[in-house]
């Protein structure tokens, strides 16, 4: 199973990366393949390619501000959560996808 995710927060200097780290760690623990794009103060990093998105079964938006280039994910199952939710309870997010 492959999942993609986008993290972003208002200031874009800390939460964005914490959420990315937590999602990656949790996915690894669950044996899920994940790629997380960060939209922070340094701009878009680890950008998701159209290939990444095409292969994914769902996309997680862990965000506090609007996602940039959101149209890329049209047609894909979206799980949108506040960015701090991804930091505090990443497990629950994956349960909604797998369960």
């Amino acid at each position: 199973m492959k999942i993609v995710a986008v993290t972003a927060c208002p200031t874009g200097i800390a939460h964005t990366y914490m959420a990315a780290e937590r999602l990656e760690k949790e996915a690894k623990r669950l044996g899920i393949e994940i790629k997380v794009e960060t939209q922070g103060a340094m701009g878009i990093e680890n950008a998701l390619s159209s290939k990444d998105i095409a292969q994914a079964e769902a996309v997680i938006f862990a965000v506090g501000i609007p996602v940039q280039k959101k149209e890329r994910f049209n047609g894909l199952k979206v799980i949108e959560v506040p960015v701090q939710e991804a930091i505090k309870n990443p497990g629950t997010i994956f349960e909604t996808i797998t369960g």
Binding site: P10, T11, G12, I13, A14, H15, T16, Y17, M18, A20, E21, R22, K25, T38, G40, A41, M42, G64, I65, P66, P82, V83, Q84, I87, K88
Partner: protein, 841 residues
Amino acid sequence: MTRHIHFQFPLIDGLHLRPAMQIQETAERFTSSITWENQRTSRVADCKSSLSLISSEILRDDPCQITIDGEDEAQAEEALRRLVQLKFFGCEKEQADAIVAQMSGLQSIRLPQIIKKENPLYFSGVGSGHGAVYGNAFIFEPYEMRLSYDKRESIDTEEQRRAVRNAIDVVAHELSSAASISRNPTERDIINVHLAILRDKSYLQKIDTYITEENYSAPGAVFQTERHFADVLQNSKSHYIRQRLADIRDISYRIISIIEGIPTKNVDVHFTGPTILVAENLLPSQFISLDKKNLKGIVQAEASTNSHTVILARAFDIPMVTGIEGIHHKIDRGETLLVDSIRGLVIPSPGPAILRFYDLESEKNRRMREKETPFILEPGVTADGKRLEVAANIGSLDELESAFLNGAEAIGLFRTEMVFMNRTQPPTEEEQFDIYSRAARISGSRSLIIRTLDIGGDKPVPYLEIPRETNPFLGSRGIRVYADFHDIITVQLRAILRASAFGNVKMMFPMVSCLEEVLAMKETLHHLMMELESEGLVFNPSVPIGVMIEVPSAAASLNDISQEVDFFSIGSNDLAQYFFAADRSNPRVTNIYKPLFPSFLNLLKTISEDAHLRGKWVSICGEIAGNLHYLPLWVGVGFNEISLASYLIPSIKSSLLKLRADECNALVSELVTLKTAAQIQERLLDFSRAQIGIDLITEDLIVLDSGAETRDEAIRESVNMLEVAGRIENSDDVEDAIVQREAIHSTHIGFGIAIPHCQSSRIHINSIVFLRTRSPISWDGPDSDPVDMVFLLAVRCPSPDNDHLKILSRLSRKLMDDDYRAQLRNARTPGDVMGCINECI
């Protein structure tokens, strides 16, 4: 077709959550895409997201553009325009308050977050002195003066005259002995002013007239004389002159109380503990007789920023807040009072949270002073020993003492306009001689540059009839008016020449544009010197003469002018304005008026080099001289002196010590080869950052046993550390930005960690503060997990620096790691924490 709305953002507090929500609500009614660009920061926000709007850091007066694109763009534009026109978004109350505050002469007070939250009763006025003090109120009851004296049927004129003479002798004796035991120069100087009133001819004559011609008793005549001068001076438009009233009242009341046998030292109370004196109006002599051991602060109803009492309080380092109407009736004796003279704030019966806030403040101030004090009385010098004299600009005699207390090595510019303004007749030679010679005596061997009258069509003075000009800034001003007002200028030149016998006086002419003007002035001076000599008056025949370099043509004829004068002082504001042909008060041309243009920097460098080639001394005294960021330029250009507002001197001196002259020289040589102002700005910023260090964190930003008990205290303690380290401009602003960010979403991330942060233009250097609290604190209220580790992240805006952002993102990721957090929790020394953080670099 896309539509745009352009405007300047009007809200004083910038774009905060409330207006942002309204914009969002409006924008959401339309399907068009609506974005908001802050053109200052080039940040673009989505109007349908209030968070995105807030994150774009829109400040008051930022140029903004709303862009609307979509099917219903016409309707959306109309709705948004209405919001913009409605000034703004139902937040006009805040503006109205600020305008009322401005009109009533009060500063609009922005309370620090911790105090705001406590919502205490407070009074605001104008503060003087630096610091916050705490004590019990002592309500000062002034002299019990009669409100009027009646004329008598008949009096023994000689007896009344004798009574006045005796009383004056007693007061003069008291004052002289007070002066002889005073160890404070400001105090001595003010006592001398009072002694001068006692000798003043018109004052004594007036008293005599009231006795002999109007049949007043001795105290009645003194009282009437005081009222007479009060009426005359009260109408003066000059705030400064009105303040002198208090001195006359003070002296008159003392004379009356001697005649009437009222004890004069009724303030001679012994304060038993830390005391805040609350008075309607405290006279200078009353201040002098106060027990200063326990006197911690003064609160006064009457507004006065320039009175001798305020100056005395400053000289004795006693914080004072003035201008709180009726305060002496609103405070009870013995009530505890907090006086914050930095913010002009008085808080009765402050609660524990406020007291803890001020504990943090005084710790901050103590540490700042500790950093600056060692330099105050040291000469201005760079790390590698290059001298740069740090002098003060002053506008009156009163500012002289505080300039020297702040460490001024000299007076680089004494503006004399105030001596001439707000009066109907020009000041006499004696009046001026008195002012200039006192300034010379107080300055002693320190250089005192007195600039002759700099006045013109833009600063009208009733007795100087300068015809209206269509363009006063290019018209008759400064030295150009001297030919028309020969008599007035001659009086001033004579007064300055005579004062030159009493100290290290230098004379400087404003607005010089050619050699001829200098030659004409020198000839006048030559005549005046002969005149003085024939009158037997003393002066310094070789008084140094200098000119202001404000007009580009003077800069271009520097070689010729150099042969006639001893020094130059660059008036950078006017020089830039004339050089760029751009009015500095016109916001439409501010992009042209920039001291950082390569052309202007080159001009400054040329002036300095040309002057030095001729062996002349050169200084810069304009506003930009006091800008800390430009300091490397002044060192590199090779000025002998910089002259600035005196409160800036300690920080300028301590920054100077961090610079190396050889590096500054190399910097300037490099900067003058650059092509644009932006390139210079960027290079200069890099240089300054390298001086202070570009590390995100240093050991002095790590506290392992913080006593903070609440979220707000932890934030305050952290931002205070940044201010002490010189990494931010001011704690209150950065605290506001952080608390605003916290209000959107708590930055408590779990694991006992909170990462309060913000991006702000008030941050000079990207920084991390690490705070470990002695006991866990509640971050989001009692139900949330407690926090014991706080990482405060402060990031510059705009142009944050990607390397630093990368480190912060790595640190953020690391904090998600159990072992990493354990390492931080177990760290024993700041060095251990540095080790952890260095893993992210």
